[in-house]
């Protein structure tokens, strides 16, 4: 890196003129352009159009464009409740994930030397153990006839199974946090790679305690990773429609469930589309707030 590379880049620029480079780049990008347009941009645009159409029932849609689905989505107390629930679980779960993952990431990056790869491997295994498998594993632990309930009954602490363990908001919160910790830890370790170990040591030499050194030096320097972890976690958790169905019961329902229902069998697809784009709007707002947060890293 540095001067040498700069000179080389300059010579290459002279050898390959800009229009030629651009032609090559466009050619290489052609397959990607086709894939992203057909598999992502066009479907998303069509979904947006659908949110302005009206349902005629039985999965049929009229091409007449109105805001009626948005009006229904915003005024119905049913959707408001599950939306508030989703963003509440998303917010708490994301912050909880960050608070739990940060010390682990710090430990992996700065305290481990030989064991570093082993612990990263363990986190990768946990990450790829299977989304649906992990939710099911929690259902077997927290369920009515699950591990905790049968154990408590065997000891004699309770006579009837506790139903609050499973099928509650708390159960959803436990599971989504559990699911998010591996990704969050990997993002944070990645961000901390750019932080020089000696900066933390210097802070300690200047009299900052261990915790103080972390909060005043490491946190600002790894703010990119913190924001990435929060933004990614909030989207993934708030948009989850499977965890609430498997462990949520009546109190732990989230907005993703009614959205997905509208697209199964004979639902109201325009309403489902409108709800999705309102959800995406909240994600954009949260993202903008978080990037503001990133800019305040000097404090």
């Amino acid at each position: 890196m540095g001067i040498g590379q700069g000179v080389l880049t300059a010579t290459r620029r002279q050898q390959t003129p800009a229009p030629a480079r651009r032609r090559w780049a466009l050619l290489l990008l052609l397959p990607l352009g086709v894939a992203i347009s057909l598999g992502f941009v066009v479907p998303l645009a069509l979904l947006f159009v659908k949110s302005f159409e009206t349902s005629l029932g039985y999965g049929q849609v009229s091409g007449h464009l109105t805001f009626s689905s948005y009006v229904t989505a915003l005024t119905s107390p049913l959707y408001r409740t599950v939306a508030v629930n989703a963003f509440e679980i998303g917010g708490i779960g994301t912050v909880l994930t960050l608070v739990l993952s940060f010390p682990l990431a710090y430990f992996i990056r700065f305290r481990l030397r030989r064991g570093q790869h082993t612990v990263l491997l363990l986190i990768m295994i946990s990450l790829f153990a299977g989304y649906i498998v992990k939710i099911y594993a929690w259902a077997t632990i927290l369920g009515t006839y699950g591990v905790i309930n049968t154990a408590l009954q065997d000891i004699g602490l309770i006579r009837h199974p506790l139903s609050v363990l499973l099928f509650s908001k708390i159960a959803v919160l436990i599971v989504v946090t559990y699911l998010s910790i591996p990704v969050s830890t990997l993002i944070l370790v990645g961000a901390m790679q750019n932080v020089d170990r000696s900066l933390l040591e210097n802070a300690r030499d200047l009299g900052a305690g261990g915790l103080r050194a972390v909060t005043s030096v490491l946190v600002p320097l790894s703010m990119t990773g913190i924001v990435a972890s929060l933004a990614y976690g909030f989207v993934v958790i708030s948009g989850d429609y499977i965890t609430p169905q498997l462990v949520g019961g009546t109190t732990g329902q989230m907005i993703g469930v009614p959205i997905s229902d509208q697209f199964l069998s004979v639902g109201d697809q325009p309403l489902g589309s409108a709800l999705s784009f309102l959800m995406l709007a909240v994600f954009v707002i949260v993202y903008l707030v978080l990037t503001r947060l990133e800019r305040f890293k000097g404090v």
Partner: protein, 270 residues
């Protein structure tokens, strides 16, 4: 209580174990306890989730392997993952090379477009694709599942490969150009062999993601189910002990992939 804790802390510290060690140990326990329970009960003779386990048996594995739905699910998942991996490796490599090697105006926009699907929940991608396939009258099948998986895994492939490409020495390409290699020959003889290990490793990330994908697949699946959807159909209604066995197989599968790519993981975090 406080004095007990303080004494415990002092004793641990004497052995060089701080609170952080204890915390990390507990967190790893939290991450692996559900998986351990799953694996343990997959070998249980009875269908009950009760400790202590009364007998060990392979009956759930026998049931799983004699079920054609599970075998079909495994084959469908492997097929989808293989095709997705091949397509994403091709499309993603060309794009990553284009953005990282040929700096051009708008390359940041292109990078943003590639990463955009990762910024949306799987639910929205799933319903958008379902709606789209309905509009163009494309019957849902494993093909539509693959399309969803390609879109879902491209950002991750691109991120992992780009991180590697940035560290790759551009001087090697310069030398090839100076010695008279054209762009195509340069790519085939110099760039490709150098980045091949990174492409393979990134493709394994795609395989792992595809093997595990549920949220998009749920909306794009036709008559044939992938393994996660087989699990869903069994787990949705009640606790089914055979799911423990299928789940253990899935954990084992991802374990193999991760161990296979461990050298690369070590490199990308050093």
């Amino acid at each position: 209580m406080r004095t007990v804790l303080r004494r415990l802390r002092r004793r641990l510290r004497r052995r060089g174990i701080g609170l952080l060690h204890v915390y990390v140990g507990l967190l790893l326990l939290f991450l692996f306890l559900p998986l351990a329970v799953l694996v343990l009960f997959s070998f249980s003779a009875s269908g009950q989730l009760r400790f202590p386990i009364t007998g060990l048996a392979l009956r759930w594995y026998q049931e799983v392997f004699s079920s054609s739905a599970v075998i079909d699910g495994i084959l469908a998942s492997l097929g989808v993952a293989a095709v997705t991996g091949a397509v994403v490796a091709t499309v993603g490599t060309l794009a990553a090379v284009a953005v990282n090697r040929y700096r051009f105006r708008g390359s940041a926009v292109v990078a943003g477009m590639i990463l955009a699907p990762a910024a949306l929940p799987g639910l929205v991608i799933g319903i958008a694709l379902l709606n789209f396939f309905g509009d163009i009258h494309l019957t849902l099948s494993l093909l539509t599942v693959m399309i969803g998986h390609v879109i879902y895994t491209l950002p991750y492939f691109y991120l992992v490969l780009s991180a590697r490409l940035r560290r790759f020495d551009p001087m090697l390409e310069e030398v090839a150009t100076d010695m008279g290699a054209g762009p195509l020959q340069r790519f085939r003889r110099v760039t490709a062999p150098l980045i091949a290990p990174a492409i393979v490793a990134s493709a394994f990330v795609v395989l792992a993601l595809s093997w595990d994908e549920f949220q998009i697949t749920f909306f794009t699946i036709g008559d044939q189910s992938t393994l996660p959807l087989v699990i869903w159909s069994r787990a949705r209604l009640s606790i089914d002990p055979s799911v423990n066995a299928i789940g253990t197989l899935m954990v084992a599968g991802s374990l193999l992939v991760v161990i296979f790519t461990r050298r690369f993981i070590a490199e990308s975090y050093s």
